[in-house]
């Protein structure tokens, strides 16, 4: 059993702690998961440990990574926590999407991997929005509200050049873990950067296209619903009730597709849509 354990925290419906055999890494993980609520106990331990010259990331009998790269191990640890959180959450409708909040209104970004969700969320938090999540939008089916899931924003190498100030400051022993991803909690981007429970106002399907000029097209509510439903982690569990929850999201939102080749252009487009009163009929 690894000797260092983070404080237990809640990620959606999961209470977890991370155990490692590296004290400096544990200190870093305590910091990057620090925006999640602390809990007195935990349901599971997520383990990162060195075994026979390799690093293993496991949760109970599930192995998320085994190999020699510390950077890939840390990236897989973040995936493990998120995957376990989605798996353990039965009371919320969960959509694979990023999200930000401002003045009690949410913009939801359903998109495929590598579409630039995390980069967009980080860029918008820098501009004064509050981060709801970079990966899983949580909807309360009883109220239709969007709940914050402030896991650390996972920034891959491709984002580093446009967000250089977000590089985590870590002890030298932790540096080798930062070769693939930076894990950046919203509160580290700016004070007050964590989103609050809010109502949906915008559904924006973002797409990063290198070299493209920024375009913003209207998306029909039907297309937006299809995008949300196809990105829903647990629609099979919720069935028609979940479908109606998603339909209510698009009914109260204005829906768009934003394609951009720059973070600045994408952030400008989202900001303009908010200022145009997205979601206010």
């Amino acid at each position: 059993v690894p000797g260092h354990t983070t404080r237990p925290r809640r990620a959606l419906g999961l209470s977890f702690a991370i155990r490692t055999d590296d004290g400096a890494l544990t200190h870093h993980l305590d910091s990057v998961y620090g925006d999640l609520e602390e809990t007195p106990e935990r349901d599971v331990d997520v383990d990162l440990r060195h075994i026979d010259g390799e690093i293993a990331v496991t949760v109970e009998d599930r192995t998320y990574y085994r190999g020699t790269s510390r950077g890939v191990a840390l990236a897989n640890l973040a995936i493990a926590v998120n995957h376990e959180a989605v798996r353990a959450t039965e009371h919320l409708v969960l959509v694979h999407a990023g999200g930000v909040e401002r003045e009690g209104r949410a913009a939801i970004f359903p998109a495929a991997p590598a579409a630039g969700k995390s980069t967009l969320v980080a860029g918008l938090v820098q501009r004064g929005f509050r981060g709801l999540t970079d990966e899983v939008v949580a909807l309360d089916p009883a109220t239709g509200h969007v709940l914050a899931y402030p896991r650390p924003i996972a920034l891959k190498r491709g984002s580093w050049a446009v967000l250089p100030t977000l590089r985590p400051q870590v002890e030298p022993d932790v540096e080798p873990y930062l070769t693939e991803q930076w894990l950046v909690p919203p509160s580290h981007i700016r004070e007050g950067g964590i989103g609050r429970t809010c109502t949906p106002a915008l559904v924006i399907v973002p797409r990063y296209d290198a070299g493209a000029t920024t375009t913003c097209e209207l998306l029909s509510r039907a297309e937006a619903l299809e995008a949300l439903a196809s990105s829903c982690h647990n629609l099979d569990r919720w069935g028609r009730r979940g479908f109606i929850v998603l339909a209510d999201v698009v009914r109260q939102s204005s829906c768009h597709r934003v394609t951009s080749g720059t973070l600045e252009g994408a952030c400008d487009a989202v900001e303009a849509l908010f200022e145009a009163g997205g979601g206010r009929s």
């Binding site: 039907a222 619903l225 299809e226 439903a229 099979d236």
Partner: protein, 105 residues
């Protein structure tokens, strides 16, 4: 259970009970619960879907649409048949099965 291509003008279309749907700005989005699939229906299917009341035949629906759009019944009927068969092939109508099931043992 009939095959989609066996649908005739006397057929009375009924939405399958395992399908949830919503209308958004004139477009219908359906959710097929057993397969957890979501589909946006095209304009013709969206319009028809909302007219399927479980009592009217396709002939009656076609006449209603012909009156509404001031168009020849024959032309409307052709589109109505094609769209209804398409909905049946997608497993969205009660009593209509996709080809693969109809061809089973």
């Amino acid at each position: 259970m009939i095959r989609p291509d066996a649908i005739r003008r006397s057929f009375v279309p009924t939405r399958a009970p395992e399908v949830a749907w919503v209308e958004l700005d004139g477009e219908v989005v359906v959710y097929h619960e057993p397969s957890a699939a979501t589909m946006v229906l095209n304009a013709t299917c969206s319009l028809l879907w909302q007219l399927f009341d479980g009592r009217s035949t396709l002939t009656e629906i076609s006449r209603e649409l012909a009156d509404e759009f001031d168009a020849p019944v024959r032309a409307i009927q052709h589109d109505v048949m094609a769209a209804t068969r398409e909905l049946g092939a997608r497993d969205l109508l009660a009593g209509v099965g996709p080809e693969r099931e109809a061809n089973g043992p």
